[in-house]
């Protein structure tokens, strides 16, 4: 029997997905009926024998590489899909912030969508009525309450959607930062909401690639790998172990051979090269070039958003290069090399990792997303003066500056 101290108790949970057969056509199914030696369906365990418990009021982090089973676990916990084996006992009401905006209809007004979305999320009409003013105030869209949401800016849309979700009062909150689309502001709101929930003694399950956030928010962390728990324990221990493995991985495995990637795979990064066009090694204050070779099955060029995220050794995001920042798209095809150029590198000497992300037109349509795809080392500094290597050890970046007395 389950212990009532647990908000969530996961026991030997497994989920088997079969590949390729999900969208079978009638013809294939009928053919399969008649063929004697029907091909065994290819399948894989997205989760295998996962067991852990989350105490009431505890915040637990779920980390792991892409494809490790994090999303599958969340889908099972939120009852979107059923497990193949094992069981989960849930004590309390559950809501997840991955539901933001679910069921919004563009033709309906903001007011109507609050009611519709609220009831889809499981709120009773009376409950929505009682919280209506609060939701509207939180969203800051008072003036547009009776405007169809199709006329909203994407920011307004997200704010309204989040406002509704934030007024659910679940005993167990599931946050999937990986899936939450939205700007930094929105991500911050999500984290803020989580903080509120935790401090009010409710349970939070937090899936994230942001190690700093997990470290801060969660007392314990589960590290999933290939559908199994690789490590579970106090967050700092688990995160440190995870990061050191990622480093090893980034240094030893060629990007093209990595399987822990997400996206359609129409194009895949094969090779990543770092160089300093003016010298032999990477140097602060000098230019830096990152070249990524892409290969894939497509014969045409795809219109893409490309992003490159830089992390330091502690998993903290240091900066981002992205076509999105300049609101532009690039055309990329099989055999092309994507080159990023940094005219003057402002990172201090040390080791860094990059995540590379490629999506088709919108960020939701991921083509290839590889975390800790490669590592590079900034060897020496010549940022402020040509010959001097003086810098503060704790700094991550150099900031151009001057000073005067007056």
């Amino acid at each position: 029997m389950s212990d009532s101290n647990f908000a969530i108790e996961v026991e030997q949970l497994s989920k088997l997905y079969s590949l390729g057969s999900t969208n079978a056509t009638m013809r294939e199914s009928i053919a399969a009926l008649f063929s004697k030696n029907s091909k065994k369906e290819e399948s894989f365990w997205a989760l295998k024998d996962v067991s852990f418990g989350v105490k009431t009021g505890e915040s637990i982090g779920i980390i792991g590489k892409n494809g490790a089973g994090k999303s599958t676990l969340l889908k099972i916990l939120s009852r979107i899909t059923l497990p193949t084996e094992g069981r989960v006992t849930i004590n309390g009401t559950v809501a997840s912030l991955l539901e933001v905006g679910t069921g919004f209809h563009p033709e309906l007004t903001g007011r109507e969508n609050i009611y519709l979305n609220g009831s889809i999320l499981g709120m009773a009409r009376k409950e929505i009525q009682a919280k209506f003013d609060e939701i509207v105030a939180f969203s800051g869209i008072e003036r547009f309450l009776d405007t169809p949401v199709k006329r909203y800016s994407s920011g307004m849309y997200v704010r309204l959607a989040f406002a509704v979700a934030a007024h659910l009062e679940p005993e167990i909150l599931i946050v999937d930062e990986v899936l939450s689309v939205g700007d930094a502001e929105f991500q911050r709101k999500c984290l803020g909401k989580m903080g509120d929930v935790t401090s009010s003694g409710r349970t939070v399950l937090f899936v994230s690639h942001n190690m700093e956030a997990v470290r801060k928010m969660c007392s314990r962390t589960v590290w999933l790998e290939k559908g199994q728990i690789k490590m579970i324990g106090p967050s700092s221990e688990v995160i440190d172990a995870y990061l050191s493995e990622l480093k090893e991985n980034a240094e030893t495995v060629r990007p093209g051979e990595r399987s822990d990637r997400e996206g359609s795979g129409v194009l895949r990064a094969q090779e990543i090269r770092f160089s300093n066009p003016e010298g032999t090694h990477l140097q602060s204050g000098k230019p830096m070039k990152v070249e990524i070779d892409y290969q894939g099955d497509t014969s045409e060029k795809l219109t893409c958003i490309a992003t490159l995220g830089i992390h330091d050794e502690n998993g903290r995001r240091v900066g981002t290069l992205s076509t999105k920042l300049t609101r532009s798209l690039i055309d990329l095809g099989n055999g092309d090399t994507l080159t990023w150029e940094i005219p003057r590198l402002s990172l201090t000497p040390g080791k860094y990792f990059i995540n590379i992300f490629l999506a088709h037109r919108t960020e939701a349509d991921v083509i290839d997303w590889l975390q800790q795809a490669a590592a590079f080392e900034v060897m020496s500094a010549s940022f402020h003066t040509e010959s001097d290597e003086v810098y503060y050890e704790k700094d991550i970046v150099f900031i151009d500056h001057s000073f005067r007395v007056s």
Partner: protein
């Protein structure tokens, strides 16, 4: 959030009747949304809902009433077929919309839990708007042609319930099949198109009984709407009581209902994996 504590396992049924009742509000909300989107905000939507049955009625009158000179006894052909169209319109609307409903609600289905069957079921409500519009046309025609309302009208609710059950059975079955086999998307418009002719909307079902061999007549009546359409006319216009053959329609409807529930239940837990 209706469920307080629960256990998730592979055997767990994602669909229980007691749970459905706790999602009552969502059912009405989805129906209200469909109504709003379809009629309330667009004038064209409402206009279209009037134009569509009007033209169907007109064409059926020209083809069956004039060209083929179908005899419908004391009742003018146009009134006779309008009554048939009224019953058929509801069925066609609900079957079409329920059939494609889960595929259209993919985004929702992938992100949040609620009993999936609510999505096709909620389509049963808005179908009554279309039916109501045709009913107004029927009333106008009955007044114009001075056709009295039959005393059988008190039995009309039975046939209305019959069409709800028939439409939802077919709709739920199609919604589940469409998830598993995308090909069924193409079956739906085809079925609606054919159905208008193989259902006795614009001619008496008696034609089928007289002019088809017996086995074909049985096939004809396996269409659940065959008996129901005849029933509507009996209740409203006082035409002849539906033929005994209509029992085949009832039987077929019950078989489809059971098949729909069983099949839906079977794939219910896997919907998010398929869409």
């Amino acid at each position: 959030m209706p469920t307080k504590s629960h256990v998730i396992t592979k055997d767990q049924s994602l669909f229980s009747f007691s749970e459905l009742t706790t999602y009552k509000e969502l059912f009405w909300m989805l129906a209200w949304r469909d109504f709003k989107v379809r009629y309330a905000q667009t004038f064209v939507g409402l206009l279209w809902a009037i134009i569509q049955p009007s033209f169907t009625i007109l064409i059926l009158y020209v083809v069956f009433g004039r060209f083929a000179n179908v005899q419908t006894g004391a009742i003018p052909h146009i009134v006779y077929s309008t009554c048939g169209v009224m019953a058929w319109t509801y069925f066609a609307y609900v079957m079409t919309n329920a059939g494609s409903s889960i595929i259209s609600a993919q985004a929702m289905v992938k992100k949040i839990y609620f009993p999936r069957i609510i999505i096709p079921l909620s389509k049963a409500v808005v179908g009554f708007i279309d039916m109501g519009i045709t009913a107004v046309i029927l009333i106008v025609l009955m007044i114009f042609f001075e056709v009295p309302v039959s005393g059988n009208i008190i039995y009309l609710p039975i046939f209305i319930i019959g069409s709800i059950v028939a439409a939802l059975s077919v709709g739920v079955l199609l919604s589940a099949l469409t998830i598993r086999y995308r090909d069924f998307q193409y079956v739906i418009p085809f079925a609606v198109q054919l159905g208008l002719y193989i259902t006795p909307t614009a001619y008496p079902a008696e034609f089928a009984i007289q002019r088809l061999p017996e086995w074909a007549t049985v096939l004809y009546f396996l269409n659940p709407m065959a008996g129901i359409v005849e029933g509507y006319r009996w209740a409203i216009l006082g035409t002849e009581l539906p033929h005994m053959m209509s029992l085949w329609s009832v039987a077929s409807m019950l078989v489809i209902l059971v098949a729909a529930l069983l099949y839906f239940k079977r794939i219910d837990g896997k919907i998010a994996d398929y869409v």
